[in-house]
Subunit: 136 residues, 2 copies
């Protein structure tokens, strides 16, 4: 309950560990494995969405049909609420040997950073700057 409650209160698409770090303030005895277990159950039950971004799972309690943007620089995940995009994809897809039940739309690009000094960049830049690296 606390886990779902917390997930509903944020729009950051946290990892299991991020959820854990917040929820343990309320339930100090809770363990990371319990958070994982509950997040997985919730997503199997269709109460939350489990996303896979940059090598880790992210969780989202917003079950409305929406899309996501992932910043290639800072890794931030933003919501896009334009259900026509998902609907178009599902309406248009014609596959003889596959029956789709849902679609996931992820945009990759760059978010508008306060380019002066990134203020809420918790993790180091994911940008892969190859300048100066010469290939042969």
């Amino acid at each position: 309950m606390k886990i779902l409650e917390h997930l509903k209160s944020v729009k950051t698409h946290p990892t299991a560990e991020m959820v854990y770090n917040v929820v343990k303030k309320d339930i100090p005895s809770i363990t990371l494995a319990t958070v994982y277990r509950n997040l997985n159950c919730l997503s199997e039950d269709g109460k939350i969405v489990k996303l896979e971004i940059n090598g880790e799972f992210r969780f989202d309690a917003d079950m409305g049909k929406h899309q996501h943007c992932v910043c290639k620089k800072c890794g931030k995940i933003l919501d896009v609420f334009q259900k026509e995009i998902s609907e178009y994809a599902l309406k248009k897809i014609k596959s003889t040997d596959f029956v789709p039940s849902g679609v996931q739309v992820i945009f990759y690009g760059n978010c508008k950073h306060e380019n002066k000094r990134a203020k809420n960049n918790k993790r180091p830049e994911i940008v892969k700057d190859n300048s100066g690296v010469k290939k042969r």
Copy 2:
């Protein structure tokens, strides 16, 4: 070269390990780490696509704009070549604080298994059958 060559010859979206198991037949000295290294370089250079599905990375040498279907039962990944779907998404998205450079469309659902007797089912079913598991 052998890695890229192999990737271009298949449409299975293999994992690094799958690529490794094939390429090592040609280059017995090759190591899994080298395969990972090269796959990552290739994807950074835009020569291949790196997908993230069911907790692991999948690689695809088909750089044409296309979409994917993931079977929730067997994990198989199928291609869909309908560029209008990705184009629609990119054209329609309006985000004030994000500049998209690409979009990834993944359909989830079920592929048409030869349900009489699955003939090329290499890996065990991923299906999560909760029948008989009562929640309280």
